[in-house]
Amino acid sequence: MPDEAAALEVRLAVAHASARARGVEAELKSFSSSVNSSKAIMNRRLDILQSWLNSNNPLFITFHQQVRSGARLPEDTRWDQQRTSAENTISPNFYSQLSLAALSLDSLGMSYYGPYCVVLKNDLIAHRASVFEENPFEFNRKHAIISGQMPPAGYRAPWIHRDKLAVSKLAAKVSSGMSDSDFPNVLIEPRRDQWDCDFIEVHMYGPIHHAAIEHVSGPIPRARADRAIWNQVKRKLKDIDANWDEY
């Protein structure tokens, strides 16, 4: 990690120098300060959210495959090889242990991966989270990294230094006159429902207990059964002192 830290410091210095040259040093400092309070947001489908909240329910543990299934059946996973290969290149040997989220300054994440935005409590993830520049597949493509090669250093940071990575990556997008209200759309592009929307990934080691949920926002489902599930989810959220809003 010393190489990673040093390389990130180099990128950070370049970003500050550039900001100085463009006369936006104050704005960049504000941005950096905002990112220090950013959150990890996981976007989830309703079924995943329900199973997550029922992960200590003996009925679900016994009878629902999504919760019960520690052992996955052999299946054809060729369709998923591009992703796993890219993630393995960035996080060799432990990529399958990672839970992923987006770094965000508001309560919205990447809705393409699920309409329910789950904000996580910082203090329950900080010790095992890091941030990474972007989606590993895109990263590898941009940097011409092929499977088996080491990725370049300086594109990841521990959670407590997420501001450094954000500044290094996004300094060029901070412009004169920007204030706190502008920064959420700098940290994540505003088109959250597009698959190629750019964002900083949060990598959390190990499974996330539902006690880490701070807030959930999402749509009221159209299907009757899914509305019943959403109502159950809301009750379960209340039980764990988490908030929710719906639209």
Binding site: H64, A71, W79, R83, R222
Partner: protein, 758 residues
């Protein structure tokens, strides 16, 4: 196209550059690059990759998978004691809606039968909540009743030591696969005496063969449940399903209903015709359960319905319900179930003509023709004004090949019941059987004039044109029928099959898919579509489609036979045996005998000649279905040929070729086989004359021509010079393959059925 489907996600992703994400009840999302699909489906444990023919098929599969997942969730929420009172009624209502999809109930059972319910589940509370919901209460009651057997099956599984296996995770993988393949449900059924545990174990071993360690676990798990191997029973007597618990419950329900009716002097206001629509819906739902193979669910729903009718309806209404369900069971080929319904009606003591006809039709379906004839004649005596029995009796004569008697009986029926629309069509069909095509066409046209709303006659007329090789005329006639009768499924399938005859495979595929979209419960279209895919060499898709059909219609006899025939042609004998084992162990219906024939031919093709010949001899000796019997007779000389008994084979084929009522394409096949046998016996001159005179016509023409050419070259029938050793071997392989294909019984018919529902 290939797609990933997850019921948990309620979504499917079409793979490829032009792919899209299709979601249940939501607008599709545009293309998502393949490297992001894993994230889209993250957390799903039910992803399946499938080849599908159309968006329609994909959406239908996704919808069913979603319904299944949500039904299980609703069920778990419903029985969860921590769920508040004000929420559970909504869960029950949602569950009832979701269970309208038969696959969903099967899915819930697969999961809920994997382990006994925790003691915390309040069964009294749950039973009260689901009381007004027939399907949910049936499912729950059954689950509660089976708890001790579920515990027995699970305890046996848990007792298997993981140390048997190389990897610690193997046992849990076997468990997961066993649950998802319905093994727990099957084994509980076996403990109830409803299924043969040995067959279930065989099926399970086959299903789990790709899961490491499955054989060790399954063998140990089921060791105390298995019975000593037994010989399959041939043509067993009609026996009622061995489920004493349900039998006694069914009788108790009936008796209670009768007692309730006796207590009421007259029909209550609640029994007004306003109930009729609800009863019809319920019967229709029971029919769907039967078709999906869920006799348990059907029986539960029927019990509830009878109980309700006992409180509000008349005795004859209950008889009508039982008759309707009996006919639906017959349609689903669940003959034991049918006979139980008939026994119930007899218990009420009110066997009317409709019920009597269903009983007789069932006997006919089971190949017990003489008993069926006697039963129809008995009905005709007891109910002289009944139109169905005389027509059905005549049809039985026709099936027996007693055509002249059948024609006379139809004419008699037409005289006595001039408004009967069934007899004229059935009579015309008989003319067609006799090769009197022009008379048949004229008869159909006469019926079309007299009964313009009759849709059987125009469809059957079009089919006659097709049989005559007048394909363009047949297509136009089918299309006209489809315009006039948009709900006619037979015309659509027959038109698509005609396109297939003409080699217009892509159009045929589109037509079958259209029928599948319009009529999701139609079983013929998916099978015919799969056969068309086989024609096109799209084997993977065809097999996937057949597997889907087997899942959706577990009692459909055609799909496993098509599947097995294809595998047999490729020499995959083990899989063929596994697939056809249940049918060959039963040997009751026509479909069972077709399966036995396919198995025999597959064994012959695999070089297991003695076994094949024994199978064929069994068919010749015991099969009572005339057409199927003839196919066994045709197959026997082929087995003799393989045993180098060519002269005897030629003699038998000569006798078969002399049968005057043989369908034309079948006669051509037999003549070609005869030529082969004669050539093999050294009678080249006779063989050449036969090949030259064989009329090679109709749908199988291409293969027949190829066979004639191969025989001619192999034995030098024209040149006088037999093929060289290497070439002869190659040609023998071709001949064997073509004979395997041509001797296959017809797996279905597109004929517009003249049979009227009782």
């Amino acid at each position: 196209m290939d797609a990933l489907i997850s019921g948990q996600a309620g979504a499917a992703a079409i793979l490829g550059r032009d792919g899209q994400i299709r979601r249940v009840g939501e607008a599709p999302l545009p293309h998502l690059p393949q490297h992001l699909l894993g994230r889209f489906f993250a957390g799903s444990t039910d992803i399946q990759r499938r080849a599908v023919a159309s968006i329609y098929e994909l959406d239908a599969i996704t919808q069913r998978a979603w319904s299944s997942d949500r039904a299980l969730r609703m069920f778990l929420m419903l029985i969860d004691p921590s769920e508040p009172e004000d929420a559970v009624d909504e869960y029950a209502a949602c569950l009832e809606e979701l269970l309208a999809e038969p696959e969903a109930e099967v899915f819930v059972r697969k999961n809920m039968y994997s382990k006994p319910l925790p003691a915390s589940v309040d069964t009294v509370r749950t039973a009260a909540i689901v009381k007004g919901h027939a399907k949910s209460s049936g499912l729950f009651e059954r689950l509660i009743r089976d708890q001790s057997r579920i515990a027995q099956v699970r305890n046996s599984f848990d007792a298997v030591s993981p140390e048997l296996l190389d990897e610690p995770k193997s046992k849990s993988m076997v468990l997961e696969a066993a649950i998802m393949n319905g093994a727990f449900v099957d084994l509980v059924d076996a403990l109830r005496g409803n299924a043969d545990v040995n067959l279930i174990v065989l099926k399970l071993l086959a299903q789990l063969r790709h899961v490491r360690g499955s054989r060790e676990v399954v063998e140990r798990w089921t060791s105390e449940m298995r019975k000593p191997a037994s010989t399959p029973t041939l043509v067993p007597e009609l026996a009622e399903e061995s489920d004493p618990l349900d039998e006694s419950r069914f009788v108790a329900v009936l008796d209670q209903a009768l007692a309730n009716i006796q207590q009421r002097k007259r029909r209550s206001k609640g029994g007004s015709s306003a109930d009729l629509a609800g009863i019809k819906r319920e019967i229709s739902w029971i029919g769907a359960r039967l078709k999906s193979g869920d006799t348990v669910g059907a029986e539960q729903a029927l019990g509830t319905l009878i109980e309700r009718q006992g409180r509000r309806s008349r005795m004859e209404d209950i008889v009508k319900t039982l008759t309707a369900v009996a006919d639906l069971a017959r349609d689903a080929k669940l003959f034991d179930f049918t006979l139980r319904m008939i026994a119930g009606i007899e218990r009420i003591g009110s066997l009317d003509s409709a019920a009597a006809n269903v009983r007789a039709e069932t006997l006919r379906d089971l190949g017990r023709y003489e008993e069926a004839l006697a039963a129809f004649e008995d009905t005709m005596r007891r109910y002289p004004s009944d139109e169905v029995a005389p027509t059905a009796r005549a049809e039985t004569l026709r099936e027996l090949g007693r055509y002249e008697e059948a024609l006379a009986a139809f004419e008699d029926t037409m005289r006595r019941f001039p408004q009967d629309e069934v007899a004229p069509n059935a009579s015309a069909e008989t003319l067609r059987d006799l090769g009197r095509y022009q008379e048949a066409l004229a008869a159909f046209e006469d019926t079309m004039r007299r009964f313009p709303q009759n849709e059987v006659a125009p469809t059957a007329r079009a089919e006659t044109l097709r049989e005559l090789g007048r394909y363009e005329g047949a297509l136009a006639a089918f299309e006209d029928t489809m315009r006039r009768f948009p709900q006619n499924e037979v015309a659509r399938n027959a038109r698509a099959e005609t396109l297939r005859d003409l080699g217009r495979y892509e159009e045929a595929l589109a037509a079958f898919e259209d029928t599948m979209r319009r009529f999701p419960q139609n079983e013929v279209a998916p099978n015919a579509r799969a056969e068309t895919l086989l024609d096109l060499g799209r084997y993977e898709e065809a097999l996937a489609a057949l597997e889907d059909t087997m899942r959706r219609f577990p009692y459909d006899e055609v799909a496993p036979n098509v599947y097995a025939h294809f595998l047999g042609s490729r020499g995959t004998i083990a899989k063929v045996e596994e697939l056809l084992a249940p049918a060959v162990a039963r040997l009751r219906t026509k479909g069972d005998w077709v399966a036995a024939h396919i198995l025999a031919m597959a064994r012959l093709r695999a070089g297991r000649v003695d076994e094949a010949l024994a199978d064929i001899e069994r068919g010749v000796k015991y099969c009572t279905y005339r057409e199927q019997h003839r196919y066994f007779e045709t197959a026997r000389p082929l087995a003799l040929l393989a045993k180098r008994q060519a002269a005897e084979a030629a003699r038998q084929l000569e006798n078969l070729a002399a049968i005057s009522s043989l369908p034309r394409e079948e006669k051509t096949n037999i003549v070609l086989f005869q030529a082969h046998a004669l050539a093999e016996a050294g009678e080249f001159h006779r063989a050449r004359n036969i090949v030259e005179s064989a009329q090679i016509v109709d749908f199988a023409a291409a293969r027949q021509r190829k066979l004639a050419e191969a025989i001619t070259e192999r034995y030098g029938l024209v040149s006088g010079v037999p093929a060289s050793a290497g070439r002869a071997e190659e040609l023998s392989g071709t001949i064997s393959m073509l004979e395997f294909d041509l001797v296959r019984p017809k797996l279905w018919t597109f004929r517009a059925s003249a049979v009227r529902a009782a």
